[in-house]
């Protein structure tokens, strides 16, 4: 069974540019999470979905960040007008039936904002 896949694996952009990250969760997993992992820190939850509904997006850093999961499968995280402080790895995870189920992580997208 395929794991969580993410693309692109790397992104480098100038401040002010926009970027989108794409995540394909494990088939059948109804819950999807986006995390931000700054260098030398643990992942920090940004937003999570149950099917297509946002359950909690209160940790999104600002209105420059948005996330969607329109059909309850794949998801996109977008940063508009990126800042240097957004430099981090962005991880997607999915789980089956939410709750206390194990979260399975993708390899992440490493973003550098110059």
């Amino acid at each position: 069974e395929a794991g969580v896949t993410q693309s692109p694996r790397y992104a480098v952009l100038q401040e002010g540019q926009a970027v989108s990250f794409w995540c394909d969760p494990i088939s059948g997993h109804d819950t999807l999470y986006w995390y931000q992992q700054p260098r030398d820190q643990g992942p920090q939850l940004l937003v999570y979905f149950r099917d297509e509904a946002v359950i909690d997006n209160s940790q999104l850093p600002s209105d420059r960040f948005s996330a969607v999961r329109p059909k309850g499968t794949n998801s996109t995280l977008k940063i508009q007008s990126a800042k240097q402080g957004d430099t981090a790895t962005y991880l997607c995870a999915s789980s089956l039936l939410g709750g206390f189920a194990e979260q399975f992580f993708g390899p992440g997208t490493r973003l550098t904002v110059l």
Partner: protein, 110 residues
């Protein structure tokens, strides 16, 4: 941050040695997860210990949990070079939300 003593740190040991990593947490949790993260990959759950367990073993891994002091430890017996990774402990504040600590870089030298 809700984390106490567990700041990002680096540990280097020789292959074959035992190692213990510690973490403390401030927010009530019913479970502590330990994850490992290899370079260029996402975290992977390696052991989970619930609040009604004091110790959990999985192969060469041993996790402990002391709810009274809100601390947990992960021990690796006879470490191998392939154990080189970043290890995180994490708690759950609700059914969905996993809160990670800053991690420990473990380097196992041949």
């Amino acid at each position: 941050s809700q984390w106490g003593e567990e700041n990002l740190q680096a540990l280097s040991i020789q292959e074959g040695e035992d190692v213990t990593m510690n973490c403390s947490y401030k927010t009530y949790t019913t479970v502590v997860h330990w994850y490992r993260q290899d370079s260029g990959r996402g975290p992977a759950l390696i052991i989970l210990i619930r609040s009604n367990e004091r110790e959990k073993r999985s192969g060469r891994l041993r996790a402990t949990l002391d709810t009274s002091s809100q601390s947990s430890s992960l021990s690796i017996t006879a470490a191998q070079c392939e154990d080189t990774a970043v290890y995180f402990c994490a708690t759950r504040t609700n059914a969905y939300k996993v809160i990670f600590g800053k991690g420990t870089h473990l380097h196992v030298l041949p």
